[in-house]
């Protein structure tokens, strides 16, 4: 009989949910071009400033205004398709159009300890253990390093986080980068793992996140340096920007979308000036500010709405997009976490976002992670992917012969047709989801979903062994770099 476990379900087609009309997409686009020409962006990083000036941008002091032609040229020459590879090719992500992939996000400073249940500072060991956990969760398609190791000096964070991730999962590994040296070391290590410089460019097993923009409209000097470097390294890079409507963007969602689109396009121009054709992911993460406190809100209804709208903008530009779902303002894996996560995950999937991060493990927005939350979110994502898969309609699935054979008053439980389709037609969640009646549930201990998820996480961590790196490569890496794990 057919086995229950199948390969990963990735790259399904989204785009069914379109909160903006085509006219509205055009208006946001025109508004963004107008912001870039009229207001411009603040750029202090000397190399970026020179690149903008050399390309004919109007740079007065540190204010750079971009003509429409420069922006349109960048949109045209950036690749529409970016492949982010896994060590195991079955986890290769082909980002283009409205193909959907979902995974973890970063970079939390706090981990809820699986045994004590108490929050504690994240350490490098967590980067490794969470990678191993995620490696076993089929609906999490990539490993964006979810925590920042607080036990390391900044100078060695990049090489160590990528190493700890790559050793413990065969999925694509992405992380924020912090130093030029770290980027170069990481590229050198990955070239060795991938089997050479060109092999790595062909199938990049890592990519970089640069949060180069502080909204509104201001380049971060240090990170801009890193952004230019990653483009020259020809490793895919994310233009991450996360404005809040009401504080770092206009309170109106349309105004935020226009500003955020302008920010994204300004970054895109720089990447293509640094290296034409550099593989880039747009990285808009629109959110809202709590007008009652000023705090960031990742679990608001507007979050899924605005992220879906940005997916439409990326599809309009034919550029791959990284954005966000699965954040929550809840502090622990509770009911609030569940419904906020489920809502944004389904919306992001239906919007056709290519690389949906933050979608597993996160709590209190980007502040904390919990092992059991990854396990819970794996099923939220599995259900979202099932929705995305839609309904197959053909002679076989319409089942007219079976309906006729069974006839009025019969049942379908023993039909060959039932057995043929029952495993693939429905999504079967893990034991996080309890589907028994009251008595059976009670006899099994009457645990809630969080407790069940903890047990699953413990089981995975006790037994799951990911495919290791080649031993020769591994020992070369250990000799070459200062590793702390």
């Amino acid at each position: 009989m057919a086995g229950r476990r199948r390969g990963p379900v990735m790259g399904l087609g989204g785009g069914q949910y379109r909160p903006l009309t085509d006219d509205q997409v055009l208006r946001v686009h025109e508004a963004a071009l107008s912001i870039l020409a009229r207001t411009g962006v603040q750029v202090e990083q000397p190399e970026a400033l020179l690149l903008f000036q050399g390309a004919g941008a109007d740079a007065t002091g540190h204010r750079v205004r971009l003509p429409r032609s420069l922006v349109e040229d960048a949109i045209a020459c950036a690749p529409s398709r970016v492949v982010l590879a896994g060590r195991d090719p079955k986890w290769d992500l082909e980002l283009e159009g409205a193909r959907v992939h979902v995974g973890t996000g970063g970079a939390a400073l706090t981990v809820f300890d699986l045994e004590t249940g108490q929050p504690r500072p994240a350490v490098l060991r967590d980067v490794a253990e969470l990678a191993r956990l995620v490696d076993a969760l089929d609906n999490v398609h990539f490993y964006l390093v979810p925590v920042y190791p607080t036990d390391l000096d900044t100078g060695v964070v990049d090489i160590n986080t990528y190493y700890a991730g790559l050793c413990n999962t065969t999925k694509h590994v992405q992380a924020g980068v912090y130093t030029l040296e770290g980027i170069r070391d990481t590229v050198e290590m990955c070239e060795r793992i991938a089997g050479g410089a060109s092999a790595l460019r062909e199938r990049p097993i890592v990519s970089f996140i640069t949060s180069w923009m502080v909204s509104p409209l201001k380049f971060v000097t240090d990170v801009t340096t890193l952004l230019v470097e990653t483009c020259r390294q020809r490793i895919p890079v994310v233009l991450s920007a996360a404005p809040m409507a009401g504080s770092t963007a206009p309170v109106t969602l349309a105004g935020m979308l226009a500003q955020l689109t302008a920010e994204q396009l300004s970054g895109l121009v720089l990447t293509q000036l640094a290296r034409r054709g550099a593989p880039v992911l747009l990285g808009p993460i629109p959110a809202t500010a709590d007008m009652k406190t000023g705090r960031y809100l990742g679990g608001a209804a507007e979050f899924g709405l605005a992220n879906a709208a940005m997916a439409q903008m990326a599809q309009f530009y034919r550029l791959p997009i990284y954005n966000s779902a699965g954040m929550t303002d809840a502090k622990v894996p509770d009911i609030q976490a569940g419904f906020e996560k489920a809502m944004s995950a389904v919306l992001a999937a239906l919007a056709g976002s290519n690389f949906v991060h933050h979608a597993a493990g996160m709590l209190e927005n980007m502040n904390a992670v919990a092992a059991e939350q990854f396990v819970i979110d794996n099923d939220i994502l599995g259900m979202a992917m099932r929705v995305l898969r839609g309904i197959e309609v053909n002679d076989e699935t319409l089942a007219l012969d079976v309906i006729d054979e069974i006839g009025p008053g019969g049942h379908y439980l023993m039909a060959e047709h039932t057995i043929r389709h029952m495993r693939s037609e429905f999504y079967y969640p893990s034991a996080v989801v309890d589907r028994q009646g009251w008595e059976v549930w009670q006899q099994a201990g009457g645990q809630d979903a969080r407790e069940r998820a903890k047990q699953i996480a413990r089981d995975i961590l006790a037994r799951h062994q990911p495919t290791p790196l080649d031993p020769a490569v591994e020992s070369w890496i250990r000799r070459r770099f200062e590793l702390c794990i």
Partner: protein, 214 residues
């Protein structure tokens, strides 16, 4: 020789009823003893099915088609088996109570019971209390199972139990109830012997009631 038994068990597991029947006949033709075919082929196969079903690897429809395959084999073996070969079968009268036409749950329990070797007498749906009484009198079953989906019809279970008492038959059978609104507490309240929350559990409960009564 043992190979053919393994093949019977394996085809039974896959729900191939025609092949199981053919293989059983083939085993007999080569001179194998019917009791050996039963134990080493059919029962061994069903044990494997039961194990994988409990582990969540097989789903309900697969158990049902495996049970159908077992019956295809049994139909050939039964006339040839001597008394010592067959485990004593328990009889189970089953029906959906008066006013209720829902039968998928009842059918599921029935099929699972048959797969586990029970002999079932199905009274169908909308079964009157006196029909349960008449069936118990006629078939002298070990167990009676009643099903209801509606909160408005589950009270009919109580009526049927009372009718069995009035007829002096209540002590001769164990009564099990089930259905979406039914609970263990309700079973106790109306004087049923047991309740099962789903079809697979119903088989376990029926087995333990039958062996306790034996």
């Amino acid at each position: 020789m043992a190979d053919i038994l393994q093949e019977i068990a394996s085809k039974l597991y896959d729900g191939e009823d025609k092949e199981v029947a053919a293989l059983v006949q083939q085993a007999l033709d080569t001179g194998m003893n019917p009791g050996e075919v039963l134990q080493g082929g059919l029962i061994a196969g069903m044990d494997e099915v039961g194990k994988d079903f409990k582990a969540g690897e097989l789903y309900v429809p697969e158990v049902l088609v495996a049970a159908r395959a077992m019956h295809a084999g049994m139909d050939i073996l039964r006339p040839l088996l001597t008394e010592g070969d067959t485990p004593t079968t328990s009889k189970y009268v089953i029906g959906t109570v008066k006013g209720d036409l829902h039968d998928i749950g009842k059918n599921l329990v029935k099929m699972m019971l048959e797969g586990a070797g029970f002999e079932t007498i199905d009274l169908g749906t909308d079964v009157l209390a006196e029909d349960f009484v008449a069936a118990v009198r006629e078939h002298q079953p070990n167990l009676v199972g009643m099903s209801a989906l509606l909160t408005t019809t589950m009270v009919q279970m109580k009526a049927a139990i009372e009718a069995l008492e009035e007829a002096g038959l209540r002590e001769s059978v164990k009564v099990m109830i089930g259905g979406a609104p039914v609970t263990a507490a309700f079973a106790e309240e109306i004087g049923a012997d047991a309740y099962a929350p789903d079809a697979a559990t119903a088989v376990d409960v029926a087995r333990s009631l039958a062996s306790a009564a034996a």
